[in-house]
């Protein structure tokens, strides 16, 4: 069963024999199952962050570099609510998601709309969102200081043993919460009016405008939804990572990597990419070297991009002449 992600990769890559020795080496090792299990919770967090990138990219063609810092802000706001106001984890999560949705909307109105109105080149949009990232990071530094925050885990971290395998309830919670959020998002995209509009814009922005869809509104929805996904990811990742003002850069980058692996703008792809990255990381860290773990991830990534320039899970579209 756990071979499924690999099978997805292998499908249609028969022309790339380079990947096979590596894959077989991994498959052979039984110890892998534990690493695979360890990769799942972090994978679900990567998937959430990757979704937040992909959602905005699909809806508005923008690469939002402040996504990682939105994750950080979500974690800080949530834990402030839990620790200072003494509300429960679920309430904190919900409030944090709502507040961040407003922040996302604000970014769209204050920064993306003016850029769009001026038809700024894509690189300017990238720099503007980088500016937002710097802004959020340093606002957090001023408010919460440079120390790592104490982030209580909502459930026990004592591992449960299943034969030779072990998993903690906390990991199970993270995994379940992540999957639940993804299901809710899928449901909203498929069923709600805003979700349908968003998908229409993602398909063909120009045609959607002609059909009377307000693209500013759909952009706003995408930014709000992806920021609240980011907030949830922040709350869930907090027990694993330290919550610090500069945690955003790393988690943002990882989420971006996952989104690109899945094909940026592709929603199921982002989820698959997130889990894929989590598992690969866990395996590379356990098997090869923890110091070079990220370097290996990036090297694999460049290789993957070279072989499949539009991501693993996206079919290459031909440019019309």
């Amino acid at each position: 069963m756990w071979l499924v992600p690999f099978m997805v990769v292998m499908k249609g890559t028969s022309e790339y024999p380079l990947l096979f020795p590596l894959l077989f080496q991994w498959l052979r090792d039984v110890v892998k199952l534990q690493y695979f299990l360890n990769g799942l919770p972090i994978g679900s967090i990567y998937a959430l962050v990757a979704l937040s990138y992909s959602l905005i990219y699909a809806a508005s063609g923008v690469l939002n570099w402040s996504q990682g810092d939105i994750v950080m802000l979500g974690a800080f706001i949530g834990f402030t609510i839990i620790n200072v106001i003494k509300l429960g984890f679920t309430t904190g999560l919900l409030i944090s998601m709502i507040v961040l949705a407003l922040v996302g909307l604000l970014i769209q109105i204050a920064i993306l709309q003016p850029l769009r109105n001026r038809q700024a080149p894509p690189i300017n949009v990238v720099i503007a969102t980088l500016g937002v990232a710097i802004l959020i990071r340093n606002v957090a530094l001023v408010i919460w200081g440079a120390d790592a925050q104490n982030s209580p885990s909502p459930v026990s971290t004592k591992p449960i043993y299943l034969g030779s395998l072990s998993i903690t309830p906390q990991d199970i919670l993270i995994l379940m919460a992540g999957i639940a959020l993804m299901v809710i998002l899928q449901f909203l995209l498929k069923r709600s009016k805003e979700g349908k509009a968003l998908r229409a814009v993602a398909q063909d922005r120009y045609a959607a405008i002609l059909m009377g869809i307000d693209t500013n509104r759909s952009d706003g929805v995408a930014f709000a939804a992806s920021a609240s996904l980011g907030a949830a990811a922040g709350m869930l990742v907090a027990p694993i990572f330290f919550v610090t003002f500069n945690m955003g850069a790393l988690i943002g980058l990882k989420g971006f990597v996952a989104a690109v692996i899945g094909g940026l703008g592709n929603i199921p792809g982002a989820i698959a990419g997130g889990f894929f990255l989590g598992i690969i990381e866990s395996m590379a860290g356990g098997q090869i070297s923890s110091g070079y773990r990220d370097a290996i991830t990036y090297a694999l990534l460049i290789l993957v991009l070279w072989l499949k320039p539009a991501g693993l899970f996206l079919r290459k579209t031909r440019q019309k002449v």
Binding site: A120, N124, V126, I127, V132, I134, N138, A295, P309
Partner: protein, 326 residues
């Protein structure tokens, strides 16, 4: 009239060059001299980025990687093999050019976010290798005691000497970049940026040109790295993070990435700005972020966008003066 215009340009250039040359005489504060030297080093990287992203349309968010390779290769050669400065720079340039080639080959198939990710990945790989390859790179502790350069029998010490060295290199760098940008090569780069497919249909070997842009821009960053290593005397992985790559890209865009002069303006303005904002202490980076956002929204062509109207005005003005002379 064409003659007249050229001579005027030369005078303008000479005056600016002279003023620049005398700067260390006016500005005697070592701290200020240090900032100016940093501006020079950043200018070199930004020129390379402008050729790559402004002209050819390939965005790189991993230039700190080339910068780091330049620094480490030249410094290690000087430290361990006691090579002279010029030779270590030469070898570092070759190393960096090869890295540019290695990244350029997968990058030629990529565009947009995918290209960004590949370059980010490269920058991170370089940093992580430096961090973990402790026997050679000394890991997180970094290199210390990088020897001061000796060139043509001159020992270079202190901020003032370095100012002249960096100034000289930046001058040559600007000149070469300007020549490339104004030539057939620059024109072809722009065509690739505008429409790759049409350029190929007109006979442009697109891949060769795209890779060459990567190599040129890597060489610029590499030379900047060599200068940085010799100048600061120390280097650690913290000098070459993703944030640094982003900072270089900001300089390129804020200055205006489709002119060479934009690189100079961008690195100057952002470096000085970041120093000036120090008085606001913890608010410094908040203001920096705000200014960055405002610039890209309200000055889409960067600060160099203001030069074009001035040049037009000058062209009209000079036409008048020639008419009077005639």
């Amino acid at each position: 009239m064409k003659m007249m215009k050229t001579t005027f340009k030369w005078y303008l250039f000479l005056v600016i060059a002279l003023v620049m040359l005398l700067t260390p005489q006016f500005i005697t504060n070592v701290y200020y001299q240090h900032i100016i030297n940093l501006v020079g080093i950043y200018t070199l990287i930004t020129i390379g980025l402008n050729i790559l992203s402004g002209y050819t349309g390939q965005v790189s968010m991993g230039h700190a990687g080339y910068y780091a390779i330049g620094t480490y290769v030249s410094s290690l050669l000087m430290l361990n093999l006691h090579m002279p400065f010029w030779l270590s720079v030469l070898i570092a340039v070759v190393a960096v050019a090869i890295c540019g080639l290695v990244v350029g080959i997968p990058a030629m198939k990529l565009s947009g976010p995918y290209l960004v990710l590949a370059t980010v990945g490269f920058g991170e790989i370089v940093r992580l290798v430096i961090l973990n390859w402790t026997p050679v790179t000394k890991g997180a502790a970094g290199l210390t005691g990088i020897p001061l350069p000796r060139l043509f029998g001159l020992q270079i010490t202190g901020e003032k000497d370095f100012f002249y060295l960096i100034f000289f290199v930046v001058l040559i760098g600007c000149y070469i970049a300007q020549r490339i940008a104004r030539s057939k090569i620059g024109r072809t780069y722009m065509a690739i940026r505008e429409d790759e497919l049409a350029a190929e249909a007109m006979g442009v070997p697109v891949n060769t040109y795209k890779i060459s842009a990567f190599v040129i821009s890597a060489i610029y960053a590499g030379i900047a790295g060599c200068l940085f290593g010799a100048y600061s005397g120390v280097a650690s992985p913290d000098n070459f993070t993703f944030d640094d790559s982003v900072g270089f890209l900001c300089m390129s865009v804020v200055g205006g990435n489709n002119t060479i002069i934009g690189a100079l303006i961008g690195s100057f303005v952002l470096t000085i700005l970041s120093e000036l904002l120090r008085v606001f202490q913890s608010l410094r980076l908040i203001l920096y972020g705000l200014i960055l956002i405002m610039t890209v929204i309200y000055m889409p062509k960067g600060l160099a966008g203001f030069i074009e109207p001035v040049r037009k005005w000058m062209a009209i003005h000079m036409k008048k003066s020639t008419l009077i002379q005639d």
